[in-house]
Subunit: 161 residues, 2 copies
């Protein structure tokens, strides 16, 4: 865990400073827990995904859970440390929505703040009620366009074998 610096950003980046790693985490937060789904939705090669899952496990962000013996199959689940990464992903999402898109492309996800029952928006606090949002107080829903995109990716993945 220890790097050679006190800087928390540098520390964090040795763990999550990699595109594939972040995309894998995105899938885990989206409750896709299996290798195949993660591979299909991130578009990574098997060894990219294998390597990131191993490293994330070694770094304590996820655990393997057996869901089938014979043949032995695992699901990947976030630990507390992994779950704690949520605010970073939300901040990244907000920045991506605001600065990496043309307006007409539209959102990928919409979150509802369960505490107040209204849209949570992009910020660290709910745009409707102003309270800080926690993951467990929100439900995310994919927009139709984004859901379609994901379905298409899954189909394409399945077709290529």
């Amino acid at each position: 865990m220890a790097d050679q610096t006190l800087c928390p950003v540098a520390r964090a980046e040795t763990v999550v400073g990699d595109r594939w790693t972040v995309l894998v985490l995105r899938e885990l937060f989206a409750r896709n827990h299996r290798f195949e789904e993660i591979q299909a939705q991130t578009g990574g090669t098997p060894q990219m995904i294998t390597a990131r899952l191993k490293k994330l496990e070694a770094d304590g962000l996820l655990t393997r859970r057996v869901y089938n013996k014979r043949p032995l199959r695992h699901e990947y689940h976030l630990t507390e440390k992994g779950e704690a990464f949520f605010p970073v992903l939300m901040a990244l999402r907000a920045w991506g929505e605001a600065w990496c898109k043309s307006p007409r492309e539209g959102r990928a996800m919409n979150y509802t703040h369960l505490t107040c029952g209204k849209p949570a928006g992009l910020g660290p606090v709910c745009e409707s009620c102003g309270k800080p949002v926690r993951r467990e107080d929100m439900v995310g829903e994919r927009t139709a366009k984004y859901q379609k995109e994901r379905d298409a990716r899954w189909d394409a993945f399945k077709a290529s074998r």
Copy 2:
């Protein structure tokens, strides 16, 4: 700008999904605007830094500003898009402080929330007054230990030439 996906996280990662890029941004937020300082504090090789600065400029997160003609010298400054990345960096910092350190190592930075005059803490909202923190409402101060670390890195960099 357009990738092949609507996902803002994936979009963002094509821009900032890289250790060096994030460390360069950290230095720019720390108001280190020159090549040498950035190189020294990130520990990158010249071409790592050159490449990231070029890409960040191409992606619209920073601009070059001439501070000396003859010889031509530039400073690198964040654009609005670059400045908007601040919440991500803060979220990453919070996660790094909370999960990538042993408690006895201590903080690297402490921020004071100018609006209320008290410590801002790690969260997206001020731990003292509860309001969302913006960059312009905060002053960060390096802890003595972290400042010393940075001074040492600078000295070592300077000594190696």
